[in-house]
Symmetry: C2
Subunit: 500 residues, 2 copies
């Protein structure tokens, strides 16, 4: 094998894999958007076959040889080529270390666990789900030992979902979240509560869609490359490459803010993905690099921009135009306060900006304790209640609105939650850096997102996955170390402006 | 190779191919329905790669060997297995007989010809398209000679698109169309014309969609397996198997009947496809067998059922409910006459039931003359005008509304048109046979489509492609020979009832 051929083969393999990913992504998207209701097993037929093909392609002998060959000639590779090899070696190592039989058994387990979780949630019956979650914990610990026996298993999984993330970082991060944001939330609950009834009412879905498309336009999404659809739960997906991006939302007629902020949140993900340099398309370097950087962008647009006063003032005339009757006597200031209402609650996905990271804190602490064998799966409901009471001051009424609320654990996503909170904190420090270069508030007030998006593109988006999350953080922060100060300060100011 | 392994390999190959077809079908469907506007080249990237994979799969050495092996052991194959082998051998023979270079050059030619056709149509400039069409004719003649040198080239292409179709049959068929339907059309033009203004107005698209879904329900489409979407031109497509079917329509606010009959027409295609026996899924025997049988079903539901008096009376209350203002003073009888208005026109796709086959007749005669070198491509506009004047009595005003109106020829679909007309005629004879078993009018009047659909399922649908079109015709007609009498008689009666 010569180096030139090996490089070409590597690119060709990724090129081909992206076509399969395109098809698989579209099959899933179709299933969640327009497919008739009883076509899932027909779709599963295609998904299974195409997944097997992509598995053979990416772990086949030729691919393994090429990757190993290139890894032995690192000095002859460009930076991007090195990064490709590292990303591909990481997933190869995972696939090669786990006995195929155990891997498939785990795939089946998570399917069954998902079913059990749905039933358990519907019936407020944690015991029905517990045996599955126990097996999942057993398996993820075993898999971590197979792949990286030298690593602490929780560190292994944190790093699987967020390259470079460690318990050491999480301990420091969530320690500060606990010591600084818990008191912040307590301070709000002592104040006169904000009235958010202006967001409630009856908001026609067609008008909401019009509003959604307006918001996409405002934040600078390119309608020629980014589509909008409706699904049960909002999400963002790239099809084939960053050149075809889809975001979804859900319209609740009784609540105008749900879709509004879903669109701006998913819009942030889509801006990040579509901002990849075009040269990265059809390779593993295309699209956002990690959960935390992704959330730093989605939550930046949703919260830092989308819940700011200038943004509300910017979009207010259009809101009134689309919903003249529904928002008849409402002022921009009332909307600003309503969308920033801070209220400890049970459900993470409905949490406000200030309490959000406490929901994640609870999950982090429980995962950690389970990995350290300080608690067992059967203790989770009780521990969950205790922590929600302690951090959020609420009495969780049942497990459906408690430990059973999220799908993640049933799907084997253990070690996945922390990045949700970390990304939010990154965003606040990005804002501070951005403000050194441009007048963010003035741009938002004018509806001029070109400069804001350009800053993000130059500092974050264009790299796609060609840098590690840490490298991107370093670029965006200009070498400054990450600090929670900016996030806490940002939240403090927000609270002050809303709760005078 | 043993016979058992060979059979399994054959099934597995088709199973896999259907997954690729599913993905390719969905990519195309997505492109025409929900994809953002500038994502075509991103989609083409995936399509190209997956098409290459399916090509390798279906023409690869292993597949060829298995098919040839099974063909040498025909006595050991079931009826369905024999049919699979025959279908696969036919397409293999095609692919193997044409030099790859010429095949690819032709693919490129049709892409360029499509572009040229669009421009030519937009600018009423046939000369811009003519050189491409000349090359297309040259190539299809050459390809016919490569694959089946013993066959007349036009017969070859008729048989490619409609297994078993010959010029001999077409000569007889279109000879009768000319001698019997041309006078029928002339007889109408002498009568007092019907007023169809009740179908024109402003019909809200959301109401039209509601109406469309009602119509799908009426004719018995299963909403759990058949979806509805909107596209520029209506079509029907199966995704992966007959278990996931999509039909599309287009809503013109100014004309309620366009989408109405698009939905019933595409609904007929979908009923046929989804009626395949479930055991045929993921094989080449799944779904409708040919264009003419397909059109016999789509036009059966659209015209024979959908434009019948009992059908209009059945749906009339719902129409009034959905469009109370728009159809305020309109009666069912007025709608019945309006949807059955006979009027010679320029455009095939907008033609009424009676004139429709004359549009196809023109195309058949021109294709035949080109194959026989009786005319040349450059003569087409003139010949087109002459035939439209002769058969339809209209003066074609320009080539845009004349020879350039259809996309088919630019796409290399030569020999494709005849089955459009043949299918319509089949439908009339199916009706006559169906009436021997059930009271069709009474079923329609009651909105009870179960018996009608059961008859079609038992006689036509369930076979999918496991029988040849001729065999299916034979089953459905209970051995009776095909005759145009039933169609002509049907059209005569229709005219009498509309034009008293």
């Amino acid at each position: 094998m010569d180096i030139k051929t090996a490089k070409e083969t590597l690119l060709k393999m990724q090129d081909k894999a992206s076509a399969y990913e395109h098809a698989l992504g579209l099959l899933s998207f179709d299933g969640q958007t327009t497919a008739p209701s009883k076509t899932a097993s027909n779709r599963a037929h295609a998904i299974e076959i195409l997944s097997e093909e992509i598995y053979k392609l990416t772990t086949g002998e030729e691919t393994v040889q090429v990757i190993e060959f290139l890894n032995e000639h690192r000095e002859e590779l460009s930076e991007n080529e090195l990064r490709m090899v590292d990303i591909l070696r990481k997933s190869l190592k995972y696939m090669q270390s786990i006995p195929m039989e155990e891997y498939l058994a785990y795939e089946r387990l998570t399917v069954e666990a998902g079913e059990a979780w749905r039933e358990a949630k519907a019936n407020n019956d944690f015991n029905h789900f517990a045996p599955f979650l126990e097996k999942i914990y057993e398996t993820v610990k075993k898999f971590a030992a197979y792949v990286s026996p030298e690593m602490d298993p929780y560190d292994f999984w944190l790093n699987e979902f967020e390259e470079g993330l460690t318990q050491e970082f999480c301990e420091e991060f969530f320690g500060q979240v606990k010591s600084r944001i818990v008191p912040l939330v307590k301070s709000v609950t002592e104040k006169k509560q904000v009235d958010d009834s202006c967001l409630k009412g009856t908001f026609d879905e067609i008008k909401q869609e019009k509003f959604a498309r307006y918001l996409m336009d405002v934040i600078g999404l390119d309608p020629e490359h980014v589509g909008l659809a409706t699904t049960e739960h909002p999400f963002t997906t790239s099809l084939g490459s960053h050149l075809d991006e889809r975001i979804t939302t859900h319209y609740y007629p009784e609540n105008v803010s749900y879709s509004m902020y879903s669109v701006v949140h998913e819009g942030g993900h889509a801006l990040y993905d579509t901002g990849s340099d075009d040269s990265l398309a059809y390779s593993v370097l295309d699209g956002g690099v990690s959960m935390s950087i992704h959330e730093s962008q989605s939550r930046f647009y949703e919260n830092i921009i989308g819940r700011s006063k200038p943004f509300i003032e910017l979009i207010f005339p259009k809101m009134k135009e689309i919903f003249p009757e529904e928002l008849k006597d409402v002022t921009a200031d009332e909307i600003y306060k309503a969308v920033n209402k801070v209220e400890p609650s049970f459900i993470r996905t409905e949490a406000d900006e200030v309490t959000y990271s406490l929901h994640v804190l609870v999950r982090y602490e429980l995962e950690k304790k389970l990995f350290r064998n300080e608690i067992e799966v059967r203790d989770l409901p009780e521990e969950w209640r205790k922590l929600y009471k302690e951090y959020l001051g609420v009495d969780v009424p049942d497990d459906t609105r408690g430990v059973l609320q999220d799908v993640h654990w049933s799907d084997g996503l253990i070690g996945y939650f922390p990045s949700y909170a970390i990304g939010s904190a990154y965003g606040a420090q990005f804002l501070k850096k951005m403000k050194e270069d441009i007048d963010v508030d003035a741009c938002v007030a004018k509806g001029d997102f070109a400069l804001i998006n350009k800053w993000n593109r130059e500092h974050i988006w264009k790299y796609g996955s060609s840098k590690t999350p840490k490298e991107i953080l370093n670029i965006a922060l200009g070498g400054e170390p990450f600090s929670l100060d900016y996030y806490v300060e940002y939240l403090q100011k927000k609270i002050e402006s809303v709760y005078e």
